[in-house]
Point group: C2
Chain length 496, copies 2
Amino acid sequence: MDSQRIRQPALAGKVMSAAQAATFFHNGMTIGLSGFTRAGDAKAMPRALADRAAHEELHFTVITGASLGNGSDGLMAEAGLLARRLPFQVDPTLRKKINAGEVMFIDQHLSETAEQLRSGTPSRIDIAVIEAAAITEEGIVPTMSVGNSASFVEQARYIVIELNTSMPLALEGLHDIYLPAARPERKPIPLTAAVARIGHPTIPFDPEKVVAIVLTETPDSPSSVLPPDDETRAIARHVIHFLECEVEAGRLPHTLAPLQAGIGTIANAVLHGLVDSPFRNLVMYSEVLQDSAIDLLDSGQLAFASASSITLSQAKYAHFLANLDRYRDKLVLRPQEISNHPELVRRLGIIGLNTALEFDIYGNVNSTHVGGTHMMNGIGGSGDFARNGQLSIFVSKSVAKDGAVSSVVPMVSHVDHSEHDVDVLVTEWGLADLRGLAPRERAVKVIEQCCHPDYRPQLRDYFERACQAGGHTPHLLAEAFTWHQHYASHKTMRLD
Amino acid sequence: MDSQRIRQPALAGKVMSAAQAATFFHNGMTIGLSGFTRAGDAKAMPRALADRAAHEELHFTVITGASLGNGSDGLMAEAGLLARRLPFQVDPTLRKKINAGEVMFIDQHLSETAEQLRSGTPSRIDIAVIEAAAITEEGIVPTMSVGNSASFVEQARYIVIELNTSMPLALEGLHDIYLPAARPERKPIPLTAAVARIGHPTIPFDPEKVVAIVLTETPDSPSSVLPPDDETRAIARHVIHFLECEVEAGRLPHTLAPLQAGIGTIANAVLHGLVDSPFRNLVMYSEVLQDSAIDLLDSGQLAFASASSITLSQAKYAHFLANLDRYRDKLVLRPQEISNHPELVRRLGIIGLNTALEFDIYGNVNSTHVGGTHMMNGIGGSGDFARNGQLSIFVSKSVAKDGAVSSVVPMVSHVDHSEHDVDVLVTEWGLADLRGLAPRERAVKVIEQCCHPDYRPQLRDYFERACQAGGHTPHLLAEAFTWHQHYASHKTMRLD
């Protein structure tokens, strides 16, 4: 083993196979795995534990930063390992088991998990499994994400380190590890700009807790983001035009405010659209950086980016790792408690850009539940930013399933973000600025600006009849979900 | 005029009648009125403006801290003065006009109004009307609330001061005025404990902006809180037992964490129940203090209380004002932006206690909309505390309308707080601790612990059939609002 990878000689003896390390895990334990939006995830141990589960009863509560890559969630779900899983996932196999009620999934604001662990709810971490690029004299060097790793290491009884030799040692110094103290000794978080460093480059740890070091060389799974298309480009144009108007009105400076963008194709496309915008010296204060962030750094429009993970396509991933030195001064990765912290999101005045599955005429947003019942991925950090930021923008294509599903509905079938937390809604058709408007005013904007023209007549019809029935937020409860029911029975939300 | 009330001689000449002051107001203006939960509200100008509106066209956007007393909202609504109103109200006449779509009401998290004004959305304040106990050399001494007054004064073009001579001069020193700077110069808010003072005792102002000083002597409207009854006492017992268990489990210290309690009968009763609890040296960090807070200060159990307003019954109000010196060191009133600020709510680890109108089997809470459509009061500060606090508790009686309405329903007809923000639900029947549970697990707790026994069979029936249909959050969209529809047509939610 390269002595640069393990700089505490006493730990060299802890190197073992994943199968050996798996013997430290016992049925019923709570496990904290590194990994956030498939970046920096523990790669060997999920597989080794799934192998063990073929021969014996093994059920865990598994907590991560956010989603894992490498099919790990699917493997663990298939093996029956996952009794309880939080706070986020994106795996098709796991999704199926969650929706069948076989895995208890706790869908959680990503800033809250660390806080809850600190207060001992629901349970303490037994073993932390953390991917690292190196172990220095001072601490663990994370890889492409920080997520909840620092909290797991702080609180776990035992630590397993997955030392990934495919990760360049140059990652050292990219991270800024700061965790709030336990209350009541907690002080203000001393961060007043996205570029600030307030902590340490490595995760401090107690070497006595390390029970195993497992060597891996598996890269992160590439992101599954699709390239921009006509609709996402139109959405990007609307958002950028809106931001230009905000600057013109004097409500935002020319450098805007720190940007957050949720994971996924549309948010990535909107950010990508900034390449052609007049904005310069932008900064991001986000939870995840996608390809678009690297392109904006390359184009010079983005001056600095702070996040908790970097999730890239295969090509961009290779480019990034090969050119780390170019990005070193322009990037920082933080614990997700800090990237998403209400204190900082409010102080910095984040502009939050997140994706809606569907939204309704009053601006309530469903980010998670297909048909109101079936979990897609999870709320992620969208609530941290939408509630506490300066501007909360949600984007969606106006229709899905070749037009059979309208993303703009009379009433969302599940509420993740209430109208209180939604300032601006955007589809390829237009942008509805809902700030300072009462519900009846919001409805007109949403219908006329965002809804697909094919669905506008039936949405106007609903709204007009609801207004006749009265109320601050007019609805016809007997018809509020008719569109969803019609899709379930007729495979289209078109009522005629 | 007592020179103690106006300590800037140049301002003495600005004293005039409310009718004279009313001539400074023009159609279409945006007005900021002091007042929070009926405490410290501007009392003379709403009436004078309503009188003027009898003779001429006058429509305003009226922004307050929270609700006004003295029937002011009703008077203004009746006179057609209110084109737009935010962020909270409790007036029956205004409510009717809101629900008829005649007044555009923007229901807003109470921490956000000041932030939006600072960024110029939706409009700047033309005239601020602020109730004061005195005008010192340094600033305005507010009365029984601070609310958004400091923000209004900072941003308004003109200021009208209502000098209320029934308010004791001894109020001076009770307030702590601190406002965050505009971004990007914003620093951490230097408050690390509920007792801390971080600002000035008066609201700084530009004397040039003062166009009128109006003398009043009207007291605040008394609170309309009902005395505890069997149900509210039972709810209090459940909450206190839960908190005792948290202390025993080591998740809370013996002094608990700073307490927030929403306005209203049930929250007041729960706090009142603490008088008989084993807890000592408690502190409150809340938006409003009701009778219960004064009783807890008197009993010695509450060591300190921070809020944005004090709203008391007639008897307690007289007692409080006559004994101000006794409370001087145990109380502070802050701007609502600070009392409800996400940064501070998270840092201090507030235990939030708020009232639900209805909640559903998965823990979503409706705080505002009767039947999903008709506004009752507004979300107030509940979202500020529920989202960012350490523990979010919602309380409600299990039934209303003599048992014809169940407060526990299959799906709430309006979502103010999604299940992500709701830790604990309580009715007189019991307490459901939902932390760390998946939706299907939450439903069992809510049904068996909180629902009135008369409604449990039909709620179990819904949940069981929904589970057969599947999903992470099982629902039957065709039946989700059947209970509400049945109440509309049959005046009962009982389906048999």
